[in-house]
Amino acid sequence: MVTRGVSSVTAATREPGSRASRAAAIAWRLATVVDVVTETPRARTLVLDVPGWPGHRAGQHVDVRLTADDGYQAERSYSIASPPEEARIALTVQRLDDGEVSPYLTDVLRTGDRLELRGPIGGYFVWDVAFGGPLFLVAGGSGIVPLMAILRHRAGALLGANMRARHGVPARLLYSSRRWEDVFYRAELARLAEDDETLEVAFTLTHEAPRGWTGFRRLIDRMMLAEVAWPPAERPKVFVCGPTPLVEAVATTLVELGHDPALVKTERFGPTGGSA
């Protein structure tokens, strides 16, 4: 969906995390919007061409800065949805009605417009296929975005791999949304799970479900985590991203269930579920 016209070669010319790329990472850059994809009624993906982009790791984010005519600046963090294999970066942004930045990104910005950003940022909430699995990903609302970068990276990296390699990195995603129409990347997630017997995707809808819905229908709770997560003995690498209350409840419960706190990485989005 966001991969069209993208070269997979240019992104990896400099090793992400190297000193050279770190020095380059903090600079503010002017990105150009090359494509806009509607994901849900309230969320859009912006595909950006960023000159001099040093490459990123799955799970990292960028800071976006908007400057008003009077010089007032507002800065927000947005997770990168695209995998490191792609030269262009994709940000999926959910509109917060009282937000200072997101309504501009979701409603105003058009193809060809420019945007100021710096990144990639963050070396903690990241996953590389070399880190291995099993992987357990838990998303609340727009918290799916950095986890999608992880799933896309995993799918790309394992595409040509043999069965043994694929079974070395099995993955499970538990994704909580209010309604089915709020779920990001629906078609792509279905396709990824269909093409890959080592990926399982479970949805829970907390507010409203379509007729005939067979997935979960409640907030993520202890029983759901016990059912969906890999057993603690398998030492899964866990990534939890979403609104702060969801992230803290999930992380605490996983540790109570016996998961090693050092393997449970969290990314809290704050109270709104939108930007950090």
């Binding site: 000193r19 963050g122 070396g123 702060t244 990485k265």
Partner: protein, 100 residues
């Protein structure tokens, strides 16, 4: 419950909901440190616990960010950006160990 108590408790709930991870401070920290420090390990000066800085708790305010220890709640690091300046308070951190 009197109004003041209610306000205090509402503020606390609001503050807890606003809590972020150390990862959220990575942007402003990249203005100070050359290597990425969210993957670096910091020793809390108060309780001595060693953690990845990405696992610290972050409270973000208009002027900057406060990073607290998830174990003892002490302030580990403060960064503020008043007009054209960058202030860094490292009294709460004993040592930062980063890859290099």
């Amino acid at each position: 419950m009197d109004d003041e108590t209610r306000n205090a408790s509402a503020e606390r709930v609001d503050g807890e909901a606003r809590r972020l991870d150390g990862n959220a401070a990575a942007g402003i920290l990249s203005e100070i440190f050359v290597p990425d420090v969210t993957a670096a390990h910091a020793t809390c000066a108060n309780c001595g616990t060693i953690r990845a800085m990405g696992a610290l708790l972050v409270y973000s305010h208009g002027m900057g960010m406060v990073m607290r220890c998830p174990d003892c709640d002490a302030v580990v690091l403060r960064v503020a950006r008043p007009r054209r300046q960058l202030w860094v308070d490292l009294t709460g951190v004993k040592i930062i160990v980063m890859a290099g």
